[in-house]
């Protein structure tokens, strides 16, 4: 409490005050801020650690194989140097996920629409719990179920698909073997994605502002037009985010696919109901137990590294799609 300074402040009073330190001057706040920052940093550290570990392991394998590791398909360790390429596996991971998405996305979105806009609240609550429970099923259980129960049933579906839609290239089957197909593996992935996409979509749709629903009702629109022009555009970002979460699970899924997919070391481009396909994660799990030596182990780790990279790229592309489609409707 010094003397009076008059109406005109002197220059020293005009100096910028240190607001930053003032904001964190409370001791508890300081501790909390640092703990949160450390936790946030840890997740980055773990991600970077995994990338660096896999990357370092991948270098020797990449040196022996060169670019053909990414552009060819095969897994023959007995030649020197081994002729190994994972293109078919990387492509297979994407193909299975796409098949899964084609089945899961419409099912999940329709289910979410039903739960939010059509079903009685009590049924909606029951469904929510059931679907959350579905997400909790361990993938090994799903894999076993698919192996024993889904396989024989799906075989018949595929025979029908081939019989009536066989003229479409993707439904061709020349071998007559309908087991271990990308379709069945994709179907299992769809079952794993549906709960995730449904949960996110339901959440997003239930947050459609009542004002906008009121507006569309007052303009005399049907449920369909309300969804088409109001609820779905409003929730688009969130729904695509949910699909990406599901896709993330599908791309890396190992055990469930391992049970139902016949792993072949060649590229199955588009014959989704033909026996045999590829998947990086399944390749790793199927070879890891009986790995022939340090070189094959490095090759598997390199495969893992590129799966990691591919997942990152898919996520980046997905983010771009979300921001691009965020534009205005005319």
């Amino acid at each position: 409490m010094g003397g009076k300074t008059g109406l005109v402040p002197d220059a020293s009073q005009l100096a910028l005050r240190d607001l930053q330190s003032a904001a964190t001057s409370h001791r508890g706040d300081r501790v909390f801020t640092r703990t949160v920052a450390a936790a946030a940093f840890t997740s980055l550290l773990v991600l970077a650690g995994i990338a660096i570990f896999l990357g370092l392991q991948a270098i020797p394998a990449f040196q022996t194989q060169g670019w053909s590791f990414l552009t060819t398909t095969g897994w023959d360790i007995n030649t020197t140097p081994p002729t190994v390429g994972i293109f078919g596996m990387l492509y297979g991971s994407v193909l299975l996920s796409v098949v899964g998405l084609v089945i899961a996305v419409p099912a999940a979105i329709l289910l979410a629409i039903f739960m939010v806009f059509l079903s009685p609240p009590r049924l909606s609550r029951i469904l929510t719990n059931l679907i959350d429970l579905m997400a909790a099923i361990p993938s090994v259980i799903l894999g076993l179920w698919a192996f024993y129960i889904l396989n024989p049933t799906a075989e018949e579906w595929q025979v029908l698909l081939n019989k009536y839609l066989g003229w479409i290239p993707i439904f061709e089957n020349t071998s007559g073997n309908f087991l271990g197909t990308p379709f069945i593996a994709g179907f299992v992935l769809a079952i794993m994605m549906i709960p995730i996409i449904t949960a996110v979509t339901r959440e997003v749709l239930s947050r459609t502002p009542p004002d906008l629903i009121n507006a569309s009702e007052a303009l005399g629109c049907s449920l369909w037009t309300m969804l088409r022009y109001v609820a779905l555009p409003y929730g688009r970002g969130g729904i695509v985010g949910g699909i990406m979460l599901g896709l993330g699970r599908a791309l890396g899924e190992t055990i469930a696919v391992f049970f139902v997919l016949k792993l072949v070391y060649e590229t199955n481009w588009d014959k989704i109901i033909e026996s045999g396909g590829g998947s990086v994660a399944t390749l790793i799990v199927s070879r890891f137990g009986e790995v022939s030596g340090p070189l094959e182990l490095q090759l598997l780790l390199a495969a893992g590294f590129f799966l990691f990279i591919m997942t990152l790229i898919v996520n980046v592309i997905a983010n771009l799609i979300v921001s691009r489609t965020g534009r205005l409707q005319k």
Binding site: P209, D211, L212, N214, A215, S216, E217, A218, L219, G220, C221, S222, T225, M226, Y229, V230, P233, Y234, L328, Q329, K330
Partner: protein, 281 residues
């Protein structure tokens, strides 16, 4: 609509207003007849009888919770979209009961437009897209979309402010502009009646004034029914006023209705006088 029906409706009006001297000049556009409304088991409105003369503005006033907003939502069948909503009596629009089984609620909502308390343009659409949204959403066919956009925005008093940026997001407009955009959107489907549920309660005084000018202008062609908590607004914009009240534990009902000058200047009921002078509510 037959003359007999008209007279019927007019009778109701006079009966409801009793001693007040309401003799609307034009024909009746809409009327509620013995209307009672429930949410589940709770009765929120009882025995409402009001007639709305064509191309006039009627203000619905009353304290919060007296059922004004519920009432206005029965006039375009939005009420029934709330789970547990029920209704007795009838709402006549151009002489026909809009709750008749043969009536398509979508058609009713297109002819009886609505503007809500909070401006609610579609944020993912452009200004132009919002004006035309009603046509798109209802599948209504109208030619010359450019003309519609200009006419309705002009009618809503917004054209000069937005004519150079029709392709920008509606969400970028100010609250008052958004509300006028929403009015333009409601007008684009050519409604005969416009329901407004406290359209200015979220707006600043300058925007409120513009909306009020718009309302006066629109009432030359459209019948307007406006819920308002602002007594001065009711005086400024309306030709007729109905005072709703829900006394302790009873459902809302119309205490008094009639010409606005009468309701505010020389009401029959002491409660109306107290309310319009701000002594309760």
């Amino acid at each position: 609509m037959s003359t007999a029906e008209f007279e019927d409706v007019m009778d109701l009006d006079i009966e409801g207003a009793e001693a007040s001297t309401v003799h609307p000049v034009g024909p009746t556009e809409m009327a509620a007849r013995d209307l009672s409304v429930w949410f589940g088991r709770r009765k929120v409105l009882e025995g409402v009888n009001i007639a709305f003369p064509k191309n006039t503005v009627t203000a619905l006033i009353g304290p919060s919770g007296c059922g004004k907003s519920t009432f206005i939502r029965t006039l375009n069948r939005l009420h029934e979209l709330i789970p547990g909503a029920a209704l007795a009596g009838s709402v006549l629009y151009e002489g026909k009961d809009i709750y008749d089984a043969a009536v398509d609620p979508v058609q009713i909502r297109l002819q009886i437009g609505m503007v809500f308390q909070k401006p609610n343009p579609f944020p993912s659409m452009t200004i132009r897209g919002n004006v035309l949204a009603g046509l798109k959403l209802s599948g209504m066919k109208r030619e010359n979309h450019d003309d519609i956009v200009e006419q309705t925005l002009t009618a809503a008093g917004l054209w000069n402010e937005v004519k150079d940026r029709l392709g920008t997001a509606a969400g970028d407009l100010s609250g008052g502009q958004q509300q006028r955009l929403v009015i333009a959107r409601a007008l684009a489907v050519q409604p005969h009646v416009l329901l407004m549920d406290e359209p200015c309660s979220a707006l600043d005084p300058a925007s409120t004034l513009k909306i009020e000018e718009t309302i006066r202008e629109l009432s030359k062609e459209v019948t307007i029914i406006i819920v308002t908590h602002n007594m001065q607004q009711a005086v400024r914009v309306s030709d007729y006023t109905a005072f709703f009240l829900a006394e302790e534990g009873t459902p809302g009902h119309v205490v008094e209705q009639g010409e606005t000058t009468k309701i505010f200047g020389n009401p029959r009921e002491q409660r109306t006088l107290d309310y319009v002078n701000g002594r309760f509510g």
